[in-house]
Amino acid sequence: MADIDHKAELAKAGAFVEGWWGSVFFFIRRYPLGAAGAGIMIVFVLSAVFANFIAPMDPLQTNAAASLESPDSTYILGADKMGRDSFSRIIYGARVSLIVAVSSTLLGGIIGVFLGLMSGYLLGWFDLITQRLIDIMQALPLLVMALVMAASLGPSIENTIIAISIPLVPHAARVVRSSTLSLREMPFIEAARAGGMSELRIAIRHILPNTLAPLIVLFTAQLGSAILVEASLSFLGLGVPEPHPSWGRMLSESAAEYVRSAPWLVIFPGIAISFAVFGTNLLGDALRDMLDPRQRS
């Protein structure tokens, strides 16, 4: 395969690209919305990683005197019923949200990629059985599936991750299988086989890397939806358990009652969820435009 000189190509497209910063500026100019999404994601990841430096208080520290305190100079975003600082809980909530989103996407993604690759490459009975399993897994809406999984596994962070990762499996498997089906007929696969490469090695070294572009797009979209499902499960009391600061959980504690008495407890965690998901969606759209020319708008 001929090497593509990315710099030259970009320069031809009218971009002034020099070095790493040059490509960053090119991305910002070409995809302003995607760059905004990436910016939101960076803020989100930084607050998750440096939560212990940013948060002014211990997110688990209760204080009866500060129960339902409205936002003031000590409690910037107010305090919940147990007097815990909302701002600190939202910052630490980013950590919970990020851990659940990334690990469930990785877990579901790896199982899905493996099933899709094997099913599209081996075909035969393996493909038949996998396809039926995927049909079954897609017969339930994501949230219902995650709900039943969460109910049967019980509430804990690990089980929430498993519950959210399972509905992702059929999506990833479908995407990988359909690219694999067209790739396996390509001359370069035939060449690899003629060269005496083992089937497993062909599947991993030659087919898998060529399915990456649609997978990256899928995984970015999945991050956003994993954050949403985690929040929904926790909101319903079936996700991340107390005392972990989860954004969805923060909204669940008699939220309908706080709508009247303590609206700040409802507004801020919701803004956090929406921003994180909005960021992944913006970035996902830009990546799709960039990596998947067929869907370019």
Binding site: L140, L236, A256, V259, R260, I267, G270, S274
Partner: protein, 315 residues
């Protein structure tokens, strides 16, 4: 075509049987059954009384036998007895289904009424300020958690009307009920309408690049005729599929919204039953959802062939 239909139909039945096994096994993965929970909370355990309860509920039978009983019951319309209320599950579910159906209907109406036209406008005005605004609105529709949107709506109602559109007692007339349900329906429909809007936009843009659109323009057809007569008719096909699938998948959004608005529908009931481990209710409801999704998918496939004569299902 008929071979395809028969094949597709048998696959559908196979999926449903597989689904029922998955649901049944998943609900029994949990350590401890309802008898354990009842007796644990009572604080003491009389093994004889516990064994009697297990026998009464059929929990002492081997899992395959229990599955057989459930399937046999499903086919004869006997859905078992709710562990919590001790009423027949069918009687518990029957009055709740119409409420959820009305809510879903309204949400779908909202989805189509907003998603379709806004998607078309966004495509026709591609890359204008209006397009950017509409795209950001549709992206935020996909980003806002539906329960938070529902809570914000409640907050606005409290602020401006000092009243919450929450289901407290049965509405007197159908009109009252629809009025009450329209607020949660909008909260659910916002997300689906955002999805429909995005899809309509990209489908329209795709069609507007086609040769026959250029032909229409070159023969002097007006922009309106081109957009709404030539482009929309062809662009709407994939949208129909998504609307059909969304109709089945709305239930995911309803679970949350019914909980926030305290609506006594099946979706809210499912969450309660899951929290209380009321298996007969949970397994029947989840099965019902699976049947709806699978049947709707089948129907959409058929509809697609009817709407687009170019599509021929052949083996």
């Amino acid at each position: 075509m008929s071979t395809y239909l028969v094949r597709r139909f048998f696959l559908m039945i196979l999926t449903l049987i597989g689904m029922s096994i998955v649901i049944f096994v998943m609900l029994r993965l949990v350590p401890g059954n309802i008898a354990d929970i009842l007796f644990d909370s009572a604080g003491f355990v009389d093994p004889a009384a516990k064994a009697r309860l297990e026998a009464e509920l059929g929990l002492d039978l081997p899992i395959p036998v229990q599955y057989g009983h459930w399937m046999g019951g499903l086919l004869t319309g006997d859905l078992g007895i709710s562990y919590v209320s001790e009423m027949p599950a069918a009687e518990e579910l029957a009055p709740r289904i119409p409420i959820t159906a009305k809510l879903a209907g309204l949400a779908l109406l909202f989805t189509v009424a907003f998603g379709l036209p806004l998607g078309v406008i966004s495509a026709v005005r591609q890359n204008t300020t209006l397009d950017y605004i509409l795209r950001i609105i549709s992206l935020s529709g996909l980003s806002l958690p539906s329960f938070w949107l529902a809570l914000l709506i409640l907050m606005a109602f409290v602020r401006y009307f000092d009243w919450m559109p929450i289901y407290t007692e049965e509405p007197a007339t159908l009109w009252d009920e629809l009025l009450l349900l329209s607020v949660p329906a909008a909260a659910v429909g916002f997300r689906s309408s955002a999805l429909v809007m995005r899809l309509t936009r990209s489908s329209m843009l795709e069609v507007m690049r086609q040769d026959y659109i250029r032909t229409a323009r070159s023969k002097g057809a007006s922009e309106n005729a081109i957009n709404y007569h030539h482009a929309l008719k062809n662009a709407v096909l994939p949208v129909v599929t998504i609307i059909g699938i969304e109709a089945a998948f709305l239930i995911g959004g309803l679970i949350i919204t019914e909980t926030v608005f305290n609506i006594p529908g099946v979706a809210h009931f499912l969450v309660e039953a899951i929290l209380k481990r009321d298996y007969p209710i949970v397994q029947n409801l989840v099965m019902l959802i699976a049947v709806i999704v699978v049947v709707v998918n089948f129907a959409v496939d058929l509809l697609y062939a009817v709407l687009d004569p170019r599509i021929k299902y052949a083996d």
